[in-house]
Symmetry: C2
């Protein structure tokens, strides 16, 4: 079964032996897209495409295609488009988070300044949406455009509601479903439809991506608290500094005694270092993270349920194994 | 003929009595598009759409449509899409220029910070490209996507080549054709094609927009030097501070005696205040601006030539009058 186990390669990219060839083709297509930029812009885009993106979205597109039949160029292309949009958002996220490192290399904003990073992200965005026209199908352009707008709006709402102590868990879930779930969902769902999935199957594969992406974001939000920069390879602890109220923090605010809650809220508002362990005790702090990780696990179970609609084959197993892989990462996060 | 003379209204928007009704419809459509955003995002987009954009691009779309027949909703819509893309670029430009005022109101970055401004621009961009799918025509999506990518790439190259003293005039013209010409051109050209223009007519109307936009950018670059913030209503003198080598400066570098040129180059590199008049003399300084304005006038002549392919009617005259209006602004710039 090792064929179907995803693993992270030396560049931090998710890969599978089962679809090794297709993942290589995706990299080749990304390189070709880099060359489609103006020659003065190309070197910058090349750097971005070589240093960011875990290629999870292309992996989903490839596996969704394979689960429904032969993997075609169209399945690869929707993966490439999703990854280009994703990389554009990473470039802009790093500006907002003032992050200077991603995957142990300097971020575009650290390397060329915020201005260039803004514009390079824009160029990537528009190129991705332009590439979607190559399918010659309005419906696909509409789905890609909708996903792209959803991601951007999720980011707007998240940023606007920093330091907003009235943020509910429901609102948090909505935000992360938009900013991360939507593009996972589009990559898997559109790829399924390109492989001839009926509307019901497409909706289920879309929902699989949505839940997987949301679970992934919860995991990533926990990692910001418990990871080490050396292991994760990017700037961490930015969420709290930036007033981003993620699930572990919402859990803490929900369970803390009134006086502690008040102090927590004050520290968040004042942008003081939070020093959770001291404030709420090590047990409560860890429990807030455990509970968030439990929520991610529940979300993964819901993601898996959607796969029942797909034919039993190696590619469907591959989609299942991605949820198991994330579950494994979550387990590591706990230890 | 007053019916056909464009003028600038109290909000700095270009309007015409001839197409007053259609321009109102464009505003209404823009308001409707604002409402299509998530309710948490809408107020921000509303502010942007109310405080930025001269609506020149929609005016071009309306007039191009009228010149070829009845003005339809499609002509208005391509104008709206162009204006949304344009406003997205303004939001991002203001971040890069660290400008805090536009049209005498605070810019989004001044009001909500750089992070929000980055993301709101992204949301506007993706919405505009999504809106283009409503035509149900891949060819239009492709043209809109191409124009959008061209604008972004023009901005990347311009930003990347700040302080680059090897920049030639040809390179400057290429950059401004991309960053400003491409969207003027797309708005007019696509609108013409939506009104049934044949390929040759569409190409000429496109070229009219390209030349008009390029002339407009040269004028705007001169205005950054000679305008007053009170008259222009936005932060000025940002180009030099930011090392943006615009046409007047390229003219000066070309004509200055060797020693002066060396000093100019040194001041640019060192980001010193340039104090042109003192350095090169008032006569040479003014001549460099005059010469740039002459180039813009030549470009307007070329723009006008393209209109010969259109039927003689009020709307075609309207397109001509836009070039005359810009010529009038240029004349004011000289005095």
């Amino acid at each position: 079964m090792a064929l179907l186990k995803p693993f992270s390669d030396s560049k931090g990219r998710i890969t599978f032996d089962l679809v090794r060839k297709e993942i290589k083709q995706v990299e080749k297509q990304i390189s070709e897209q880099v060359k489609a930029f103006d020659s003065e812009v190309e070197p910058f885009i090349d750097y971005i495409c070589n240093t960011s993106g875990k290629r999870i979205r292309p992996a989903l597109a490839i596996l969704a295609g394979g689960s429904l039949g032969k993997i075609s160029d169209d399945n690869l292309k929707i993966g490439v488009i999703s990854e280009l949009i994703h990389m554009a958002t990473l470039v802009h996220d790093d500006i907002i988070d003032e992050a200077d490192t991603r995957r142990k290399t300097p971020t575009p904003n650290a390397k060329w300044g915020n201005g260039m990073a803004v514009l390079l992200g824009d160029a990537l965005f528009s190129h991705a949406l332009l590439l979607a026209t190559e399918f010659g199908c309005i419906d696909i352009c509409r789905k890609v455009g909708t996903a792209s707008r959803e991601v951007c709006q999720g980011e707007v709402i998240q940023t606007q509601r920093r330091f907003d102590l009235s943020l509910t868990k429901e609102e948090y879930f909505r935000i992360i479903a938009m900013k991360t779930g939507a593009l996972f969902a589009a990559s898997a769902g559109i790829s399924a439809s390109l492989s001839g999935a009926d509307a019901d199957t497409e909706a289920k594969v879309y929902d699989y991506g949505l839940k997987l992406g949301t679970a992934f974001q919860i995991y990533d939000d926990c990692l910001d608290l418990v990871g080490t920069e050396d292991n994760v390879g990017k700037t961490l602890r930015t969420d709290l500094e930036k007033g981003k109220l993620t699930l572990p923090l919402l859990n803490l605010l929900e369970t803390a005694p009134a006086a502690t809650k008040k102090q927590l809220q004050k520290n968040i508002k004042d942008q003081k270092p939070l020093e959770f362990e001291g404030l709420v005790g090590d047990v409560a702090y860890k429990a807030s993270i455990e509970s968030a990780l439990d929520t991610a696990i529940d979300m993964l179970d819901e993601a898996r349920d959607n796969l029942n609609c797909l034919p039993a084959n190696d590619y469907t197993t591959g989609l299942l194994e991605i949820t198991n892989y994330l579950e494994g990462l979550i387990a590591k996060c706990r230890s």
